[in-house]
């Protein structure tokens, strides 16, 4: 039966290299490219803060209070005479730690709970009611309550921001697991005698990775924002630590004298969040081609 026979598959075409695939995601369009560059600059700013910052961000200097922008203080100084530019540069460190930390913790915790809820139907009813309960409390209120109860430090702020994000990850993972466990290849694994942990890790876990990467970027952006809000409300990390929220909270009073104290950290915060969200969209488009078709050129 020549012509009809399903001939053995020919050698697969070599896939594009990892570098070129990453380039295709992060430089997919003009807007995405700008977002990639901006985020890269902010990350570099955070890592190399001690090298870039012209002044010490914490040392008080009453002699130079509330100076306007000048050659020495490019963005001026705040009410305690600290260099605004240096504080904004150092602020990127806390924001990125909180953002990335919350994203990693929330996805990891959510993944474990979600896998359990999706696969062990008995846990599901209990776990999901707890999750529902958590979701019913506004996340900022919950975060303020946690910080108020346990005192303000980087860790408590991180925990306070992570906990309200977990339920969303749990629901996402659970829904992916619920649909994937009906796949015949999972049933095949059961009939091959594979143990439950093996099925979870080998056959179900990989399905959750693409949506989790996307969800992680959104959590990262949202955590940076929540941290800024907490600091702004005075419920965050102690006020002398430079975070974008702290700088803005202090600047509120002095807005008429030096509006830059609010505007500059606000601007960097907006750019950071916008860039992360745009990159999240780019990753989602790359992982889910159906969405990309309907989307716009970014």
């Amino acid at each position: 039966m020549t012509g009809l026979a399903d001939t053995p598959a020919s050698a697969p075409p070599a896939g594009p290299s990892l570098a070129s695939r990453l380039r295709a995601i992060f430089f997919a369009g003009p807007v995405t490219s700008i977002a990639t560059v901006m985020l890269f600059l902010i990350v570099a700013m955070a890592i190399f803060a001690p090298l870039i910052a012209p002044h010490d961000p914490i040392r008080l200097s009453p002699a130079t209070r509330l100076k306007p922008p000048s050659a020495e203080f490019l963005l001026g100084t705040d009410a305690y005479g600290r260099d605004l530019l240096s504080r904004v540069i150092y602020g990127a460190r806390i924001s990125l730690i909180v953002g990335v930390g919350a994203a990693v913790f929330a996805t990891f915790i959510g993944l474990v709970i979600g896998l359990a809820a999706g696969f062990f139907r008995r846990f599901d009813a209990i776990l999901m009611r707890i999750v529902d309960g958590l979701m019913a409390i506004p996340s900022i209120l919950l975060a303020i309550a946690i910080v108020a109860l346990s005192g303000a430090s980087l860790w408590t702020v991180l925990v306070a921001i992570t906990i309200p994000e977990v339920p969303r990850v749990v629901r996402l993972v659970r829904s992916v697991v619920l649909s994937a466990r009906e796949e015949p290849y999972v049933e095949a694994a059961i009939s091959l005698g594979s143990s439950t942990p093996r099925i979870l890790v080998r056959h179900l876990l990989p399905n959750t990775v693409p949506p989790l990467i996307v969800q992680g970027t959104y959590i990262c952006a949202s955590a940076i924002l929540v941290e800024a809000i907490l600091s702004f409300l005075g419920a965050g990390i102690n006020p002398e630590t430079p975070t974008w929220g702290n700088i803005m909270a202090e600047g509120r009073v002095y807005f008429p004298i030096n509006p830059g104290i609010i505007l500059w950290p606000g601007l960097v915060l907006s750019v950071a969040i916008l860039s992360i969200n745009l990159l999240g969209d780019a990753v989602r488009d790359a992982l889910d081609p159906r969405m990309a078709k309907r989307g716009i050129d970014r």
Partner: protein, 548 residues
């Protein structure tokens, strides 16, 4: 002869409009009023693309780059989207394979038909309703006043397809395109729908472009047949001529691959062997709690008793909802049987709790219907095959060596172990799934519609492979299928099921040649093309079939 209703000339469709990436390579078609043209071909032959191009519904990455499609003299390829919209339903209409997804699930079906009238005619109020009811009667729907107000999920598959046909034909189009309209239906329903399409074509003088992969269906409905392969026309013939004297090797191969309805020679049963599988009064009941504390019970399998010897094949045949898959899944313990016993090589496995079932898992293996979903797409083929053996303590190296041998046994190169499932065709993946099952050295292989998703030529090869493996390894096969032809070719014994109950059980030659019950007889009579012996290029002896 008069002007054809549909005249397709040298149609070429290419990916992204690139002339080097043509998927349809110059197709010609002519259909006259009141005629049915069947487009036949395996997957990838371009039969569906041709119909979508006619309707102006090609996905945007595929572009017609040359040729013409004219409907009653009007060119469609260059027509504006607005004009195409006017032509759809009034001059040309299409019905699809899966009527459930083609209908709007939240709208009453009567209104969906009325909507077609709204868009293309000025009928209002009671006139419109009257016309819809008339059309519904025309497609032989019972109790039309009730069905008018039903939602799609309240109807059966056959009724839904009738609604689709009513929608397509309510404005009396000149051309009806039917894209595998009966593939998702049971055989008895399929026979009724084919009859309906024939009848309406005669009454309304509609030209029908009928797309199918099933030669049986072709013999039932076609006037003319166009055979396509990889986007090219292989041959065009009257149906009778094609079935008797195919001109190309490809058509001959296609016809030869159609399994014959005449049962195979039964193999002698081993006298005193321990049965590979024995079930007794196997029963599966689904109970759902109702609002007021009551229980609603659905019996999916009722007292199934069977006996399968090593080296033999038992087929369970039935329509959808007959419980055949339920039985298979109970035997593999993917679901829990409610009552009864299942013995595999003498060991009772129905009552062992899931946690202690593992040692018995390797005795029974299953091959699923859809080869695109039964292999984990993220795992290399070799890893998939050795998963089972390594679960039972075989070392990775030994298991991998065996995997390579098994791949060669199922007709694939040993080097396939390093590739991913998406690099293989459907038939090849099914071979991999079989290799994975064989890696466990099972006593019993359960094949749950294992060849139903495959093209007929590939199906033929996989059936031969199963047969060969069986004679070499002496395993027992439980073969679940809805296709009587397949059952006739592979099974020694056949069990017919209907609504969870066993209707008939016996040697294949007995059950299929001299059915004792009406239901089995109905099933056999509904099998499309039962009067043709396709592989021999002639009608079944003694019967002169009425074609078309």
């Amino acid at each position: 002869m008069s002007q054809p209703v549909l005249d397709v000339r040298d149609l070429r469709i290419a990916l992204n409009g690139d002339p080097d990436a043509q998927v349809v390579k110059g197709i010609d078609l002519k259909i006259h009023a009141g005629e049915t043209m069947c487009l036949v071909g395996e997957s990838g032959s371009g039969k569906s693309l041709t119909s979508l191009a006619t309707m102006g519904l090609l996905p945007s990455v595929l572009k017609p780059i040359a040729g013409s499609i004219s409907l009653g003299g009007e060119e469609l390829l260059t027509a504006s989207p607005r004009r195409l919209r006017q032509l759809r339903a009034t001059d040309m209409a299409m019905i699809f394979q899966e009527p459930m997804t083609a209908l709007n699930p939240v709208m009453r079906v009567g209104q969906q038909i009325a909507e077609v009238l709204d868009a293309h005619s000025s009928m209002v109020g009671s006139d419109r309703r009257k016309r819809v009811l008339e059309m519904m009667e025309h497609v032989h729907l019972p109790d039309v006043a009730r069905i008018y107000n039903s939602f799609p999920h309240q109807l059966s598959g056959g009724q839904r397809q009738r609604i689709m046909i009513a929608m397509a034909l309510v404005l009396k189009p000149r051309l009806l395109i039917a894209d595998e309209p009966t593939t998702a239906l049971d055989v008895t329903t399929q026979a009724q729908i084919l009859k309906l399409i024939r009848e309406l074509r005669e009454e309304q003088g509609t030209a029908v472009l009928f797309i199918t992969h099933d030669m049986g269906v072709v013999s039932e409905i076609a006037d003319d047949v166009t055979v396509l392969k990889l986007g090219e026309v292989m041959e065009v013939q009257k149906v009778d001529a094609l079935l008797r004297t195919p001109r190309t090797q490809y058509s001959r191969d296609l016809l030869k691959a159609v399994p014959s309805l005449i049962p195979r020679e039964p193999r002698p049963a081993l006298a005193d062997a321990v049965p590979a599988l024995e079930t007794k009064d196997l029963r599966k009941v689904y109970a759902t709690a109702t609002l007021f504390g009551g229980k609603k019970e659905t019996v999916a399998a009722k007292d199934v008793t069977l006996n399968l010897q090593p080296g033999r094949t038992l087929g369970i045949v039935g329509e959808s909802g007959s419980g055949k898959s339920t039985v298979a899944r109970c035997i593999v313990r993917l679901i829990e049987p409610t009552a009864g016993s299942v013995q595999v090589s003498g060991t009772e496995i129905a009552t062992i709790p899931q946690a202690q079932l593992k040692p018995h898992r390797k005795r029974v293996q299953i091959v699923f219907q859809d080869p695109f979903r039964s292999l984990n797409p993220r795992i290399e083929v070799g890893e998939s095959i050795i998963e089972g053996p390594t679960n039972f303590g075989v070392s990775r190296a030994d298991a991998m060596k065996r995997a390579r041998e098994l791949l060669e046994l199922v007709g694939l190169p040993a080097s396939a172990v390093d590739r991913f499932p998406h690099q293989f065709s459907g038939g090849q993946r099914q071979r991999i799934a079989i290799a994975r099952a064989l890696a466990m050295d099972p006593d019993l292989l359960v094949a749950d519609e294992a060849v139903s998703a495959l093209d007929v030529s590939v199906q033929d090869q996989v059936l031969k492979l199963l047969d060969e493996i069986q004679s070499r390894m002496g395993i027992a096969i439980l073969f679940i299928t809805h296709d009587l032809r397949v059952a006739a070719q592979i099974c020694d014994d056949v069990m017919v099921m209907q609504r969870g109950a066993v209707v008939e059980y016996g040697p294949a030659g007995e059950v299929l040649a001299n059915p004792r019950t009406d239901y089995t007889r109905t099933l056999i009579e509904a099998a499309p093309g039962r009067h043709w012996d396709f592989g021999a290029f002639r009608p079944v002896a003694g019967v002169e079939p009425a074609l078309g």
